[in-house]
């Protein structure tokens, strides 16, 4: 999918809300966190929410950077590697306990596992299977609405 600005944002929100939430729901119980399960869920969903919300600002930046590309495309690799700066930022905020609604600072190992798995699965879904139910999505720059 070659994104437009609104397409990027919608795709990110949809994928995190559906695929990200499913992965988080399945993964949270096994994450190395020393807390009751309810607190663990609260922490991972706050992190997921932060990736979505802060991500809107990231998407604005990516859209700006994309303008220097003649093709106005966003290579597959970029979609994966943008996870590094995004992960570092959200990871810092989460492990410091600075994200709102966090029950406690998130253990670094738990964050790394959670973020990496969610990012990878979302990236894989965006690069193929997403097109199966949403047959018009790729021709609309990633817009679902």
């Amino acid at each position: 999918m070659v994104p437009t600005l609104f397409g990027r944002i919608q795709t990110r929100l949809w994928l995190l809300a559906v695929v990200g939430a499913l992965v988080t729901a399945a993964l949270t119980p096994v994450l190395p966190m020393d807390a009751p399960l309810a607190d663990k869920y609260q922490a991972t969903f706050v992190v997921l929410g932060a990736v979505a919300v802060i991500g809107i600002a990231w998407e604005l930046l990516y859209h700006l950077l994309m303008q220097w590309r003649w093709e106005k495309d966003w290579p597959t690799m970029f979609g994966l590697f943008t996870g590094i700066p995004e992960g570092l930022l959200v990871g810092y905020l989460a492990t410091q306990g600075w994200l709102p609604f966090l029950p406690a600072a998130v253990a670094p190992a738990a964050f790394v596992i959670h973020f990496t798995v969610v990012w990878l699965v979302v990236w894989l879904v965006a690069n193929g299977p997403m097109r199966v139910p949403f047959i018009r999505w790729r021709f609309r720059g990633g817009r679902l609405l």
């Binding site: 437009t4 600005l5 397409g7 994309m66 047959i135």
Partner: protein, 517 residues
């Protein structure tokens, strides 16, 4: 199962036009049922007809069958081809793409699969048990060229899907003569099967017509055309889209000079062939490459609109910037009209070729060894001077002469819509108009503006619809985008299913398991 056979066409009974046909061809305005019955023309009713039967018709048929849920009885394909990839294969082979060569569209441009998933790269990776194709897509276009599928794989996939949707049950062999409005709504598609001993006109009475008729013919530069006609020499001055193997055969046996004209991907392929043959057969072939526009570097009005280029070529992965098929450029174009749209066409247009690392290496060697010269200019005169030709070239510094043995014109195909009888008639009698680029004026839904007939619509996709709100029309993915628009429009008008997420997933499962429709 349907056999794929190519029946050779018999010469039609030239000079003895079938009378009702001649009368109908000369008539103006809409046709009545009585008129057609009066001429004794057999009529078949069907809701939709697609004229052409090449890749564009095939993609529309696929979309109608799969997404629209239309049965085979709901569609007829009127074509002079026996299989949809016939013209494409011929043009590809002539222009030096062998079945194992890679074409120029991306991994998810799958004419045989509405979803583009699994992509060609994923399929190739699974089949060859190799991560190579996936790694290629992962690093493209930054650390490697764009991944593109092999011609043979693409054609095989098209054939598989054609059988799955029972394409040949819908095929009606014939040359469409006219598409005329029918009094009372809808259209008549009048066609003649020229393969018959005594070809008789036949008609389809339809609600909607789709036209994907490709290119009317080859395009030659005027001075080359003039030479071919004057000397009746189709041997030494050839078009890259026609079979010109004899040129390569001759150059294997003796030293020679070739003048290659054009800077597009076909020129790149012709150069590749000449260079490889030179290395393989050891003949000192010399190449003069004539470009009308010589690109020396990145070009464009500002840093956000700069295309790369060098050594005469403008480089681009595909025949438009990638975002034309779904990103920013597609969205932007759809909202532009008139001159603004034409300006963007101008900005993103122009001849380009793909930057392929292999081609760069070959040309670098050729340049360094001094047997390849690219010059910027035009041919002002071409004469037959014995065993060789003499071409007078006009360049910036003045004029000079070269003596090539062959001239290969790689400047393209003729897209003049008024040279196609059916399209011309729609312009003259059907209410259709030309767009600012001189092709058929269509809406975003690919409906031909001004040609509706009661509840019926004409849709045009492919090269004839270039210049509309969507530029990438003449490509596999573009034809698929167009088919989606057409089928969605037909669904909006209440004549077929609108494909939602659940049905789409079910249809994909059917595709993946090869279930026949």
């Amino acid at each position: 199962m349907t056999e794929v056979v190519d029946v050779h066409r018999q010469e039609s009974a030239a000079g003895t036009p079938v009378r009702p046909l001649a009368r109908l061809l000369a008539s103006a305005g809409a046709w009545t049922d009585e008129m057609i019955a009066g001429y004794g023309i057999p009529v078949q009713d069907t809701p939709i007809a697609t004229v052409g039967g090449g890749i564009g018709s095939y993609i529309l048929a696929d979309y109608l069958r799969v997404a629209g849920g239309v049965p085979t009885s709901g569609l007829r394909v009127v074509s002079n081809l026996s299989h949809p990839w016939q013209t494409y294969e011929r043009l590809a082979n002539s222009s030096q793409i062998s079945p194992t060569d890679r074409i120029r569209s991306d991994s998810a441009s799958r004419p045989d699969n509405l979803w583009g998933f699994p992509s060609y790269a994923l399929q190739e990776a699974i089949r060859d048990r190799s991560l190579g194709p996936l790694a290629h897509v992962f690093v493209e276009p930054i650390f490697d060229d764009y991944y593109t599928p092999r011609l043979g794989d693409v054609m095989k996939s098209i054939e598989r899907e054609a059988r799955r949707i029972r394409y040949w049950d819908m095929l009606v062999r014939g040359d469409a003569q006219l598409v005329r409005k029918r009094v009372g709504g809808g259209y008549y598609v009048l066609f003649v099967d020229e393969r018959q001993e005594d070809p008789q006109p036949m008609a389809l009475r339809v609600r909607d017509v789709h036209l994907a008729v490709g290119y009317p013919g080859l395009k030659f530069l005027p001075e080359l055309q003039e030479f071919r006609e004057r000397k009746n020499d189709h041997h030494r001055v050839v078009n890259a889209y026609e079979n010109h193997e004899h040129v390569y055969h001759a150059l294997r046996r003796r030293p020679g000079t070739v003048l290659v004209r054009g800077g597009g991907i076909v020129a790149s392929r012709v150069l590749e062939r000449l260079i490889l043959d030179r290395q393989r057969y050891g003949q000192p072939t010399r190449i003069i490459h004539l470009l009308r526009t010589y690109v020396t570097g990145s070009h464009g009005p500002h840093p956000w609109a700069r295309r790369s280029g060098k050594h005469g070529f403008a480089y681009q992965g595909f025949n438009y910037p990638k975002s034309v098929w779904g990103g920013q450029l597609k969205a932007r174009m759809a909202s532009l009209h008139g001159k603004d749209r034409a300006d963007v066409y101008e900005e993103i247009g122009g001849t380009t070729t793909a930057y392929r690392r292999e081609w760069q290496r070959q040309l670098r060697t050729a340049r360094e060894e001094g047997w390849y010269h690219a010059v910027c200019g035009t041919i002002s005169d071409l004469q037959d001077t014995g065993p060789k030709l003499t071409a007078r070239m006009r360049v910036e510094q003045g004029e000079f002469e070269v003596e090539p043995d062959f001239v290969i014109d790689c400047t393209g195909l003729n897209a003049e819509v008024t040279e196609h009888q059916v399209l011309r008639d729609l312009l003259v009698h059907g209410g259709a108009q030309l767009n600012p680029l001189g092709r058929m004026d269509v809406k975003g839904s690919f409906e031909l503006i001004g040609a509706d007939s009661g509840p019926g619509r004409v849709y045009v996709t492919g090269a004839a619809s270039l210049g509309g709100p969507f530029p990438g029309v003449d490509t596999f993915l573009g034809l698929q985008i167009a088919a989606q628009e057409v089928v969605d429009d037909i669904a909006r008008r209440g004549h077929c299913r609108h494909l939602g997420p659940i049905a789409s997933t079910l249809e994909w499962l059917r595709w993946a398991t090869g279930r026949q429709l």
